[in-house]
Symmetry: D2
Subunit: 259 residues, 4 copies
Amino acid sequence: MAPRSLKGLNAIITGGASGLGAVIAKRLASEGVNVCLNGLTHDEPAAQKLSSELSSTYSIKTAYVLEDASTEAGCKNIIDTTIEKLGSVQIVIANAGWTKFAAWNDLEAFSEQEWINSFRINTLSPFWLFKAVAPHWKSSYEATGSVGCLISTNSLAGLTSTGSSMPYSVTKAGQLRVIEGIAYNNGPWARANAVCPGLIITEWSLRYGRERIDKMVEASPLKKAVDLDDCADMFVQLCRNESITGKHITMDCGLAMVS
Amino acid sequence: MAPRSLKGLNAIITGGASGLGAVIAKRLASEGVNVCLNGLTHDEPAAQKLSSELSSTYSIKTAYVLEDASTEAGCKNIIDTTIEKLGSVQIVIANAGWTKFAAWNDLEAFSEQEWINSFRINTLSPFWLFKAVAPHWKSSYEATGSVGCLISTNSLAGLTSTGSSMPYSVTKAGQLRVIEGIAYNNGPWARANAVCPGLIITEWSLRYGRERIDKMVEASPLKKAVDLDDCADMFVQLCRNESITGKHITMDCGLAMVS
Amino acid sequence: MAPRSLKGLNAIITGGASGLGAVIAKRLASEGVNVCLNGLTHDEPAAQKLSSELSSTYSIKTAYVLEDASTEAGCKNIIDTTIEKLGSVQIVIANAGWTKFAAWNDLEAFSEQEWINSFRINTLSPFWLFKAVAPHWKSSYEATGSVGCLISTNSLAGLTSTGSSMPYSVTKAGQLRVIEGIAYNNGPWARANAVCPGLIITEWSLRYGRERIDKMVEASPLKKAVDLDDCADMFVQLCRNESITGKHITMDCGLAMVS
Amino acid sequence: MAPRSLKGLNAIITGGASGLGAVIAKRLASEGVNVCLNGLTHDEPAAQKLSSELSSTYSIKTAYVLEDASTEAGCKNIIDTTIEKLGSVQIVIANAGWTKFAAWNDLEAFSEQEWINSFRINTLSPFWLFKAVAPHWKSSYEATGSVGCLISTNSLAGLTSTGSSMPYSVTKAGQLRVIEGIAYNNGPWARANAVCPGLIITEWSLRYGRERIDKMVEASPLKKAVDLDDCADMFVQLCRNESITGKHITMDCGLAMVS
């Protein structure tokens, strides 16, 4: 009755050097998964540190790919480099995202270019990652029957008009459709799912300010923020649960009445 | 007990020269609404013809603005020109959209630029139109208490992974969040809603091919395509129903089990 | 381009003597629809008065059937009596419902019997009405191609965990599935849809108390309660729109971020 | 980074002697959870056998309570007996349900009494179980900060008009609202969630017949039925994930485009 083991699989985590990405990396490493982290230039020190820590603590292989996950070419490079460094990749965590904090009624907050940048990273990045990995997953499935696993980090903001900004919410909503579209049209050799956390306390979300965070905690039935380890544990669940595809799982301590 | 009259109001309809847009234009005109049509160069002959027909049949004012609705500047020009020609605008129908027909599992079907173009016209156009009209609606509300009405043409594809292509579905899903975001953050001086038709028979949808259309008709409980006049009638309903905002209405002859 | 006329059709409205039901009755009568009202003993004086008023104002036929709409036998009698008195029935408005006002965390508020009563009237009544009318609608469709129209009065409470009580919300959620199930399995001779109003001001909702009502008004983007005439106008729209089935339409002045 | 341990907790599983309930029981036992099974008279032999097997294999305490889970009194007895036998209960799996296989357009399939019986077991049973356990969970939370965990077995049929019968779908839809209502109004001392499996192969679902099962398998992107162990693993995930409440998780191999 032991759950399916992930030991020896290889994973790439975009935006994996810090925040939720780093916690997912740790949790996957603790299951014996080799992990390749991805980030931008300013993420490199944190990525190096995390890499060493994970390889020494969990005796796994680690790698790092410095690359912008918001373009098709970048995503292709991320997948190719991961395969080059780890030999193959079975798990793709499309975790990189971007927002600015802005009032929802501030129609000036995002320029046309910022809207499009939001779309590139929040909506399209999972698609380009999948497009790049698809031929590899198809071959693996034909050769061994193994099924590739794509998971995107979405948000409560992808489900309802809440969160840091309207462009973030709009482009995360689009991402959910990307995940569904991939799942419903590329079986049985690939699975795709999303995790929609409510309030998690990371460097990013701290920009909400203490007062707003306290209000959200107070408003949630469980009177707390989403635990980062709980959140990472759900990613692991989705990696090993081979019966789920095309779905999103919302984890928000009850903050919002949506699934 | 007569329903609220729309007589004398002014409307702009993007993509209003043909297809569903033209049917909405006729239906609004028949209610006494002055209409400004918008389209691209190749739409001009149809727009001229429709314009003359509407002004002579219904004794309303009509206008036409040749402009690309997929950019912020274009949308501003559309609103400004409408106001210049009709004096003011109370109804904005964000109807222009774009897709290509492509298999959902064809990961090559849309280039990066085509994805972004889809986002521009299908997701952002209603936002830019609203941004341009917002100051006018705020003033009108303060002066007279009148509430501006934005309605976007969405699609069953905005609600589920179906329709002409994955980018269309993804960017129409984003549009629904734009409409919600506008509605929930810009009351009481504006209302925003969307209509999600299933299969309608227009030049556009005929590209599905007869066989696929027949299958969809057969699959729908009502055994028919959505009537264009029924669809336009729902736009009129949303124009005059001052209690509804932030919602989408799905009309699909029962084709899909979603609301 | 005039919308489809309802003149000369016959409608039964359960719970039609007062509140929203009475406003729907008036609005249908104003369209030339003959209406049969239904209610319990204590509704009779109001029903008589409304009946006379409608028949004299709109020159339509009216009738009244005193009956409990919460049982299969009662619903059969309601349909049979309507047909007996008006000759036929094309429109069934399943509007009767029941709730008590109770805190959602009060686990004692409803007895087992009250839960079941809620299920009977809020979930099952539309089903029994439909079961009783189904053979008539099938014959009519075969004879004339006419499509029967069932509309239920649902609620924002049917879509989310809000409203007067948990049993009301739970049983209204069940009702939405009844409507869908009818629509998706009984075409093309019947259509079935639901209307989900947010806060409407009737004798019933006044039991919320002024303070709670004011809060809801303040929380809604449009800063008001749902207008009863707007609500009734949507019922008329659903009667004449022959392309919509299996859907619910939410009208709440933006109070809740759900569709 | 090890996930939270469930070792030493006590669980009651209604309908736990066979089918999915028995697999959940095994999986919880394998995590060191003591389990009380519940069933009707005809379930007793299977329950006895499973009980012995679990206690000897996993060195846990087991118990059995013969009782009808469809009434308030029965649910109270189930909770009281579990506490009497195991000392306390932290996990309640509301798994018992009932349906008949019937065509959705067969309006005669369920009698009024069968509709109500469906409501009793599918919608109300989780509520009565919660009502009975609530005082215990409140005290525990006050004394130790521990949070009670309710999980119901729902179904794809709870989310869309599919499955064995319309009453099953309607009453499972109601159950989702019960779970939400409990979660949003009884924090932080309780969590409540639901699991919605698609096609699982149990004695129950075999009544679909091989042909229909094969069709569902073929229609699902993953080309298989939901694995019972995967399904049970999600129940374990929900037991230990202390950040999720008020949600349902759908696991259907992609069979339906709903979450």
